[in-house]
């Protein structure tokens, strides 16, 4: 396995498929700088019409909840069904919710 030290920083790639839709995480790439990051993201993830807009973010700029912290973060929501808007009927006109 080749060393990854000379491949540059890790960046996360987000793609917007259509105007108005949210950017979705597509994966990650290596790059030395912003220009290279956006180009590598384009070459690795968007060559088959996956999207119309692209974000790259340095992976170390992302603040994340680790697996060991997950229970304290998320479990309290489990038994509070009233927090979900599932008791309402969606109007027919609403396409995405």
């Amino acid at each position: 396995m080749q060393s990854t030290e000379n491949q540059g920083k890790l960046w996360e790639v987000f793609i917007q498929a259509k105007p108005g839709q949210p950017f979705k995480h597509a994966g990650s790439i290596h790059a030395y700088d912003k220009e290279m990051a956006i180009e590598n993201a384009r070459d690795v993830y968007t060559r088959r019409n996956e999207g119309i807009a692209l974000w790259v973010v340095p992976s170390d700029a992302i603040v994340a909840v680790t697996a060991s912290e997950a229970s304290s973060f998320f479990t309290p929501a489990h038994d509070k069904v009233y927090r979900h808007p599932t008791f309402y009927d969606l109007p027919d006109g609403v396409k995405q919710m």
Partner: protein, 249 residues
């Protein structure tokens, strides 16, 4: 050979042989992203070559296919510039070669998209979109090499010094090219050259790389006179169609 067919082949061969060199790098890139980027460019170039070969085969009217033109000619019948056949000595060579050709292609296709030959103009318009991305990538690599480490600067400079003598040929108009000027099919390479010089000067300046002083130039490819590498490329590239003439996908 008809002037128009010759002109088509010059452009197509340049794209095909460079794409061959780039695809040689497939699975050998410095890392995954660059590996994919190089093969993506190779694919763009093959697409351009294919359109031109198919049309040239029709114009030629000898019952050949585009594939026949791509894979069944002998060395002297290929008209690509010597620059694109130069080997992938290291990554700096690959990118410097690419940079020189990308800058050329960008301005060449800009002009060619105004050709009075509708087919050429259409191919050039499509190629220009691709070239716009290619030039962006390779120009940034020049900056990265030149302003990177001492070693990256040295390697890029070595490649520039070595490949410089093959760049002049890009702007030498062949006889076929000149014959097609009046009808507005071919385009003025002098125009392309002045843009090329400006852009290359600008990028090399920003990258702290030097333009070689040596003005010696080594042309030949457009007349079918190639470097020693061309025979090796064709031997490998034509192996399958020679050994299995009826092979299809």
């Amino acid at each position: 050979m008809d002037d128009k067919v010759k002109y088509y082949l010059e452009i197509a061969d340049n794209a095909l042989i460079l794409s061959y060199r780039l695809s040689e790098n497939s699975s050998k890139g410095p890392f995954l992203e660059e590996d994919l980027a190089c093969t993506n460019i190779a694919l763009d170039l093959i697409g351009q070559a294919e359109s031109l070969y198919n049309e040239a085969a029709k114009l030629n009217g000898k019952g050949q296919s585009g594939d026949d033109l791509a894979y069944r000619r002998s060395e002297r019948d290929y008209f690509n510039t010597i620059l694109v056949e130069q080997p992938n000595k290291d990554f700096a060579y690959i990118m410097v070669r690419q940079f020189f050709v990308d800058v050329f292609n960008y301005y060449f296709h800009t002009e060619l998209s105004k050709s009075r030959d509708k087919y050429l103009a259409a191919v050039a318009t499509k190629a220009l979109k691709e070239a716009t991305y290619h030039i962006r990538r390779s120009a940034e690599w020049m900056l990265r090499f030149g302003n990177g480490t001492e070693e990256s600067n040295r390697r890029a400079q070595d490649a520039i010094d070595e490949l410089w003598k093959y760049t002049g040929e890009l702007f030498n108009a062949s006889e076929a090219d000149l014959n097609l000027r009046e009808s507005g099919v071919s385009i003025d390479l002098k125009e392309v050259q002045s843009h090329w010089n400006l852009k290359v000067n600008e990028v090399l300046y920003l990258a702290h790389l030097k333009k070689p002083n040596n003005e010696f130039q080594l042309p030949g490819g457009k007349n079918g006179i190639h470097s020693e590498y061309m025979g090796l490329i064709l031997t490998e590239m034509q192996y399958l169609p020679s050994k299995y003439p009826d092979a299809i996908w």
